[in-house]
């Protein structure tokens, strides 16, 4: 199971649990005694459950995009690393220059990082990744602005997978030297 599958699996575990609780509510099961649903009407309980489901769905998307960000950033870092040794003269200057690039690479906007792949990635896949990131920002920044295109966890996973599959070197980013 890939890390993305793992994230989606956790989300599905929640969704199935949600369905079971919904059924318990419908049947007024004694299992709900001592839980937050106790003393609530069925309507209140199902609404609370629905609201939680929406939150968990957004968190799953955040989780998927966080994985994507980490993969891409790691790949960029790994790509930069060999240049430290290759720089001439191999001096404190080269080390400092490399360090400067590496430190600042972390601060690059993710959109800009995505742009680096523009020539290698299908434009539709790139555009989907950007739209997904826009949705991620909307979630992370408090959902205060107009909602951009929505992504379910499944759709988010698909967008990330397509990007990673289109650029297979990323999936081997655990090697120290991606240029090899």
């Amino acid at each position: 199971m890939s890390e993305l599958d793992d994230i989606l699996h956790k989300y599905r575990v929640f969704r199935d649990s949600q369905a079971i609780v919904r059924e318990c509510i419908a049947q007024e099961s004694d299992l709900l005694t001592g839980t937050v649903f106790f003393s609530r009407t069925k309507k209140e309980s199902t609404q609370a459950l629905k609201k939680l489901g929406e939150t968990i769905e957004l968190l799953a998307v955040l989780d998927i995009v966080a994985y994507f960000e980490s993969k891409l950033s790691q790949y960029i870092e790994d790509t930069i690393r060999p240049y430290e040794k290759a720089m001439l003269p191999p001096s404190g200057f080269a080390r400092k220059l490399y360090q400067y690039i590496q430190d600042n690479a972390e601060k690059w906007r993710f959109d800009d990082k995505l742009e680096l792949f523009k020539e290698e990635i299908d434009q539709h896949i790139l555009s989907e990744a950007k739209k997904l990131y826009k949705f991620r920002n909307w979630i992370a920044h408090g959902q205060r602005t107009q909602k951009p295109s929505n992504y379910t966890p499944e759709e988010a996973k698909e967008a990330v997978e397509k990007f990673l599959q289109a650029f297979p070197l990323i999936s081997v980013s655990n090697t120290n030297d991606p240029l090899v």
């Binding site: 509510i25 709900l32 937050v36 106790f38 003393s39 009407t41 309980s45």
Partner: protein
Amino acid sequence: MNISTEKFLSFLRREKEEKEKWVDVKAKWVDALCLLYSKIKEWLKDAVEDGLLEVTDKTVELVEDELGPYQAPGIVIRFGEKDIEFRPGGRFVLGARGRVDIRSDKGVVSLLHDSSKIQGWSLFDAGTMEQKVFDQESCLALFEELLS
């Protein structure tokens, strides 16, 4: 009488019985609410006579799947600028036969009717999940806390 007429009549009878059952449940629920408020009014009688508190009846519109839309009684207790509102939450709640929310500027606490733990009315703390019998003593202690 042919079979389909017999079947149809049986359906109508079942439906009628079912409707009457819910009418009865609703009536009992509204009675329980009225009884609760009359008890509270009795407990607060001296404070009202002394002009310290004011108790007003109100009506709340409720909609429940089983009972449909209906009007249920509530009360508001006023002490100066402070209000304590007793507002029925519904007859069909999980683990009890009705809930009344007590709303004030201190938040919301609930009263449960015939819960799986306590018969009659009980005070329910959703934070600690604790229940205790709602009687004169616990009622006045609660008001003291909410009006302080």
